[in-house]
């Protein structure tokens, strides 16, 4: 039997390479997005702290902002170590 390819669609799956399934701040999946976003993907990526704990970038930014407003340094929500973004 001879098959002639007329047309083809490329299909791919993607997944963030994160150890946990859900963000420890908003409890939404990393492969979904934070509560303020509507589309998962590059606009709502996970970020890592130096302690290797990950959060949605928007969740981490909101936590840092709320702690800065309170006038203190921001501990990691998971382990309470000083939260600094990890250079990748």
């Amino acid at each position: 039997m001879k098959v002639k390819l007329k047309r083809w669609h490329g299909v791919a799956v993607w997944k963030w390479d994160v150890e946990d399934d859900v963000c420890g701040i908003c409890r939404m999946a990393y492969d979904a997005c934070c509560p303020d976003c509507t589309m998962p993907g590059d606009n709502c990526p996970p970020v890592w702290g130096e302690c290797n704990h990950a959060f949605h970038i928007h969740c981490a930014m909101k936590w840092l902002a709320s702690q800065a407003q309170a006038g203190g340094g921001a501990p990691c929500p998971m382990c309470r170590r000083d939260f600094k973004f990890k250079e990748s």
Partner: protein, 196 residues
Amino acid sequence: MASDLSRVKKELAECAKDTKSSVQCVPVGGSMTHLEGTIKGPDGTPFAGGVFKIDITIPGGYPFEPPKMKFTTRIWHPNISSQTGAICLDILKDQWSPALTIKTALMSLQALLCSPEPDDPQDAEVARMYKDTYQTFVQTAKFWTETYAMEHMGGGDHENAIARVCEMGFAAAEARRALEAHNWDEVAAINSLLSA
């Protein structure tokens, strides 16, 4: 900042699923910003056998701000106001983390019942009793648990009230006298007997 009510909803669903837990949490009315938690008094403490209700308000900044919690069941504990139910616990204040949940906060309250911190008191009178006359503290805390945190207790007739006061080691006659003098308010009567 609008609070993340979808997270609250998720947390409540998880609480509802876990029926075996000794802490529970349900919404009050239709809103997700006012909840009621219940914790069981831990065994081996003067609060054992009691069920304590906690009023929970979810602030606008949740989960970046801690939930506001206070006891609505009266309790005799150094870190909880015997008058207002206000709670002194670091994770409900500056040690809050958005990785904590309503359930973990309620479990921390249970842990607080196991290990009071009389050096960081919310109720100075209770803390003083805890440090100076520990046995009196245990008796009073047990009595409050029986009076306020157990169903079908309290509000009984006068003879039951006298019996309960007698259980704390007072003679029936003086128990009756104290209760009559305090209009059958058991706590007031006990306090007067203890301070006599």
